[in-house]
């Protein structure tokens, strides 16, 4: 137990870093994912094709491979970064964007056809139909699945800890090595801090699911 209290500053540092990684990648993934979903339903065939291939491939790529790619292949393309955090953010947001695109697309499909038809019949164009009528409704329907994806993102950010980024898992590993006799306490501490992030998000998801959901 003392080992946790002794190392509280490290835990706190790790928690903040995990939060930072998840928040930044989450925001990027939300934007990119929504764009990908829009491309998936757009009239331009090339965009549809690109989006489909991207989502199919990324969804079936293990996260570790995405990290490998960001850490090894990208530097060869001349994309160099000072910190490993940047590679981690690229990998996490590219990976999560695929899942968000899929969730938003199923949300778009859940909006009743009449909505789009009504919008079209008052003369709106594709962009207007999507941005003013369909996407706002779709986003409300997909909020619970999106929060679930973000929970997964928080948990997935732990993979960054294995790629030289010091976040909660990374610090946890370091502390476990430093305190060989109290590994169990150290790791239970890490688990506790992860739950501190994921459990409230989970409760939020189920509350939102009950409240914000549109009744049809």
């Amino acid at each position: 137990m003392e080992v946790i209290i002794e190392n509280l500053p490290l835990y706190w540092e790790g928690l903040l870093r995990t939060l930072f990684l998840s928040a930044v990648s989450g925001i990027i993934a939300l934007v990119v994912g929504t764009l990908l979903a829009a491309a998936r339903v757009s009239p331009v065939a090339a965009l549809r094709g690109f989006s489909t291939v991207y989502v199919e491939v990324l969804r079936n790529t293990p996260l570790t491979i995405a990290f490998f790619f960001a850490a090894i292949v990208l530097p060869r393309l001349g994309v160099t970064f000072q910190q490993f955090e940047v590679a981690a953010i690229i990998a996490l947001s590219a990976y999560t964007a695929a899942f968000i695109a899929e969730a938003v697309r199923s949300g778009v499909n859940s909006v009743p056809i009449g909505q789009a038809e009504a919008a079209r019949s008052i003369g709106m164009k594709f962009g207007q139909v999507l941005s003013l009528i369909v996407l706002p409704q779709a986003l409300r329907t997909v909020i619970p699945p999106l929060i679930n994806i973000l929970i997964a993102l928080v948990k997935n950010s732990s993979v960054a800890g294995a790629f030289f980024v010091l976040e909660l898992f990374g610090y946890g590993r370091q502390m476990a090595n430093a305190n060989g006799d109290q590994v169990m306490a150290v790791l239970l501490g890490v688990a506790f801090f992860y739950l501190l992030l994921t459990v409230p998000l989970g409760i939020l998801a189920s509350t939102v699911e009950r409240k914000v959901a549109i009744a049809r």
Binding site: A46, E56, T61, F169, A191, I214
Partner: protein
Amino acid sequence: MTSVLYDVPGPKARRISLIGSVVGTVLILGLLAWIVMTLAQQGIFEGRRWAIFTRGDVWTLLGNGIGATLSAAAIAAVIAFPLGLMLCLLRISLVAWIRIPTRVVLEFLRGMPVVLMMLFVLLVFGTSSFIAVIAGLVLYNAAIFAEIIRAGIQSLPKGQREAGLTIGLTSFQSRMLIELPQAVRRMMPSLVAQLVVLLKDTSLGYIVAYGELLRAVQVMADFLGNAFLFPIFFVAAAIYIAINICVSRIAVWIERRGSSKTAGGVAKAPTAVVAPELPDATERK
């Protein structure tokens, strides 16, 4: 739905769309070409670097990696599924002191990164990395399986259980003989989708030094020299993604087949739950 979003394209719109497609394709191809050129300048595509794939031992190592990945996934799945069934039964038990602790345990397992569980088992119990990988995967996925099956049981019409109890089955018999078989069949697509996640998560074994595919890549690159890292990584990633896409396709196939053959069809994945149907839309406002 998709087609409702825009007009059936006329000649002008078709031309614009065609131009858009061509420009888009050219842009994407251009990006790919730039990537290939940049890599080629660094000599990635020299035959010498790819010649290693003519060597048998490279393929043996890659094969061992694939074998390790698949066997970990298979063993974990085989253990996790019955465990998930059991957890599900405990979670919906009528006895509060069984139900509530199970719920806490399930929430705990679901809120935990899989890597952390693997590391925990590896360091605390001092097991081999193989056991650690399997234990981590089993604990996490059993919890997910339990939640999926629970969602399936809840989606069944109430009459199923009532009928079971009426003909004199005990509560447990009704669960085992009437509700579970239907719930599992309904939730088949979600269960197979979770299997894909399980297969993907075996790659986390890399972090606890389990000799799966990625670890095999790393070992070979260390042994043969970094010049070969890219080709080996490229081939391994392609194999990994190909396996996963195959399993995903099977999931889609089961979903299609299930919806036509299973009575009552298959239910939607619980992660993509849409708003619960409410009787009257105006009532809520």
